[in-house]
Subunit: 306 residues, 2 copies
């Protein structure tokens, strides 16, 4: 790398005085794949066992990590619902193309009140958890403008947008992000019906609904399901429902059965390098660098535990 940098001229020093990024950011010479390959063990973490739900759908694992920092009451309720068997036997009831895949109690979708699954010790009502204070949030910021918010970046492996002027931060509706469906009342979600984004990030949903986490593995199971007929994508016949055959907290799965997965940390130099590298065309194929990156275009790498 050293040999790529030339001694700055007087003009270049002036430019750098005004634009320190010029000096701080030489163009990366290494691909994203190599950054991942060269990463240190400390660049990775295990999924949080008390905040990870492992669902089995169509014989495949769909793994959701919760975001208790952003939606603590919803995370706690989803934990309870998982442990008390609520989601086991629930089903995907809606797949709307380029929008959401949604799962719920089929009886709720069919408005069969007498067949509703019992909530057990989970709460029926929760406050809306649309945003948290920005101040003090350990965010790894993106340098490029987001468009939808003044600040964007990652916190705890989740895509986050923020408005420091209003001291607000919130989870962004990127691909694979999971929210808690609600009715007309802002505080009418309780985690019994959840949706994952399966297309272009519908960021206009941000701050309008409680986001609870993100599918970190198995999103392709949810995104490749048949779209439901009709404009909102609900399956019109109960036999179209795709059952969640089992849902367990990662902490409750015997060690030998746990999915063999770890996830990259998003509070490291390695992650920053990965994001910066994504702004540049590197390798033989691309001819033009976008010089731009967006939180919804960056997925957090996972890998088998080495």
């Amino acid at each position: 790398m050293r040999t790529k940098l030339h001694a700055p001229t007087a003009v270049a020093w002036m430019v750098m005085a005004f634009c320190p990024m010029v000096w701080a950011k030489p163009v990366p010479q290494i691909s994203q794949a190599d950054i991942i390959k060269n990463s240190a063990p400390g660049d990775w973490r295990r999924l949080d066992p008390e905040n990870t739900v492992v669902m089995e759908i169509n014989g495949q694992a769909v793994i959701m990590e919760l975001a208790p920092r952003f939606a603590p009451k919803h995370a706690a309720n989803i934990r309870t619902l998982t442990r008390e068997g609520y989601y086991t036997g629930s089903a995907v009831v809606r797949v709307q193309d380029n929008y959401v895949t949604q799962w719920a109690d089929p009886a709720d979708d069919e408005k069969e009140k007498e067949k509703l699954k019992p909530l057990g010790t989970a709460l029926a009502e929760l406050p809306a958890e649309f945003s948290i204070p920005f101040k003090g949030l350990p965010i790894t910021k993106f340098t490029d403008p987001d468009g939808w918010a003044p600040v964007s970046g990652f916190v705890d492996g989740m895509p986050v947008a923020a408005d420091p002027g209003k001291n607000k931060a919130w989870l962004a509706h990127c691909y694979g992000v999971v929210g808690a469906a609600r009715g007309t009342k802002p505080d009418s979600s309780n985690g019994t019906s959840l949706y994952a984004i399966n297309g272009q990030a519908p960021r206009a949903l941000d701050l309008n609904i409680t986001v609870v986490g993100r599918i970190v593995k198995g999103m392709e199971v949810l995104s490749s399901m048949p779209r439901g007929p009709g404009p909102m994508g609900f399956y019109d016949k109960p036999d179209a429902y795709i059952p969640i055959t089992r849902a367990r907290m990662l902490a409750d799965i015997p060690a030998t059965e746990q999915p063999n997965i770890e996830i990259m940390r998003t509070d490291t130099v390695t992650w920053r390098n990965l994001v910066e590298t994504s702004r540049h065309a590197i390798g033989g194929w691309a001819v033009r660098s976008a010089l731009h990156s967006n939180i919804c275009n960056r997925s957090v790498p996972t890998r088998p535990i080495p």
Copy 2:
């Protein structure tokens, strides 16, 4: 509407003098659904029969409109390939989650040179058609920043990004947009292998590959297919290929068999109103307006011909 506007105060006049948008843009009071319902017949157009390919896949119609203004040589080649039966019997050979669904000659994917479909009178080599001049382009601009480009908007129903300083405009890789797969050489595409974006817009592909058009109907057929194993999503077994049972130019389909569809024009006040309305929370559900819109979040409405 008149009664919503109050006589401006002296201060308001000063604000309006500096910010004419305040005066020009009262907050919309009508939903997108109502704008579509109240649209005039002239707000709609038929698909261009000489630039529309109708594919049949899994018994469903997948309709692609070509963009001859942006990629005239690729559009002409695709027209020839369609008319000479190249795509009929081709197949979807790759579905990579949150990226692309790609179709091609299966023999090409299998590297079986002796079984390759004949090109007929189509050209094997075409120039790269990555961008066109911006000057004079009849673009309906978006007012919000795009992030990936200085200017964005719609032309001929297609999402477009542009850099006026470089006098360049190009089709943006939004959901449903179709590009011509290429090898390492920028001019190695000829339309025999095409891909449609099936997830978050991978805008870093912009200006790196020739974009040829957009799926205007039936994208859910391509987006809900099983993902291929492996990191690039290619189907590893030929029996996984999903055949294109027939592909015809709209102009060559008997009138009685033509899909009953028209599409909204994107060079009208109605379209501008639809985009502006998308920036605002209207109706009972949403509690917060994003005050932002992005070309890749706006789909162009279609409807049955009235």
